[in-house]
């Protein structure tokens, strides 16, 4: 019985070892009857080659840091340890040892799993509360704090501009200046007006 590559139905997650293929790309899952189109790539049928370490010749070869019996073939690009074929792992375009990957020492910033968008937070704090303006006395300085803190922090990977931080900063500064003028008017303006009246 012919067996196709180990695929799972995207809907019911069952193994599609028995797909009803209509043609080269169109098929249906036997279990949930979901019709689908499948576009294969060479990795589907490519076989991965297991790394085979070379045996080290005592007193001649450098040996792997983790396996004293294996010949060192690569140097870790992060910590410089000698590594055998088993321990050298291709990671983000570098040859690294397992411990460097585990401790994330070699992980570049581009490999982050998530990021805080300080621009988004600041603009929400500076723009949103304008509808209920009295609370801007609190939110504007906080927004300005986020702008200052977030200025040098890693930004979005895909839209790394500081436009939101700039807009939030301008809004926050305008609100703070507005509040200072208002307070100044309350403290000195009425007194002055009172004196003029007197």
């Amino acid at each position: 019985m012919p067996v196709g590559p180990a695929l799972s139905c995207p809907k019911c997650q069952r193994k599609l070892d028995a797909i009803s293929w209509h043609d080269e790309t169109d098929g249906a899952c036997f279990h949930c009857r979901t019709d689908f189109q499948f576009f294969p790539f060479p990795a589907l049928t490519a076989r991965s080659v297991a790394a085979v370490p070379g045996a080290a010749v005592p007193a001649e070869d450098a040996v792997c840091f983790f396996h004293a019996e294996n010949k060192a073939e690569v140097v870790c690009e992060s910590c410089g340890r000698f590594l055998c074929a088993v321990c050298a792992i291709d990671f983000a375009g570098q040859k690294l040892c397992p411990s460097c990957i585990a401790t994330k020492k070699a992980r570049p910033l581009q490999e982050d799993k998530s990021r805080v968008l300080y621009g988004g937070v600041a603009i929400a704090l500076a723009g949103g509360p304008m509808l209920i303006w009295p609370i801007t006395a609190v939110t504007a300085p906080v927004a300005l704090g986020f702008v200052i803190y977030g200025w040098r922090r890693p930004r979005s990977l895909v839209t790394p501009s500081r436009a939101r931080l700039v807009i939030a900063g301008v809004l926050a500064v305008l609100q703070i200046v507005g509040w200072l003028l208002f307070l100044g008017f309350l403290l000195f303006g009425t007194h002055k007006i009172g004196r003029v009246k007197l």
Binding site: P2, V3, F38, F41, A43, L157, P160
Partner: protein, 174 residues
Amino acid sequence: MAQRLYTRLTPTRRLLGGFASLWLGPDHLLQVHSTGYTESYSRIHLREIKGIFVTGSERRQNIGLVWALIGLVVLFIVMLSSKSVLASVITAAILIVPLIWNHLLGLGCRFYIVTGVQTAPIEAVARWPRARKLLARIQPVIEAAQADLGPVAPPPPVEPAATPPLPLSEPAVD
């Protein structure tokens, strides 16, 4: 100015509680989920992509049905509250725009990328025309990244077995 590593592949799609988009990096696809305050990233390396599944969905029909129901309710209220035919016609004209827009966006679909360890749904794609555009864009890139792995071998079509398999222990009969 910060250097942009990623090229946009899909427009940002609104989801419940966030946004999703797909980007092309130097050697991987980057799926971004954003709340507006945080972004989370999932990377799919081009060399690890085994295939792409696209299945149909009832999205267009469902959205059309919801819009039609809302439209009928609003139209009914307008007709009850106002005797003017013009008001009803204007309301109907306004309400039909989203229906036409929904129809023009095309049939609904779900897009999945298959790797050795997962079948990742790509939430930024929900309509067939956009899925086709995305496929046309990323297929050559993925094939170029996997050029050293050999030609594309489509999965062999599975025909129903015509005869039961012979038991291995039995001797061959001449």
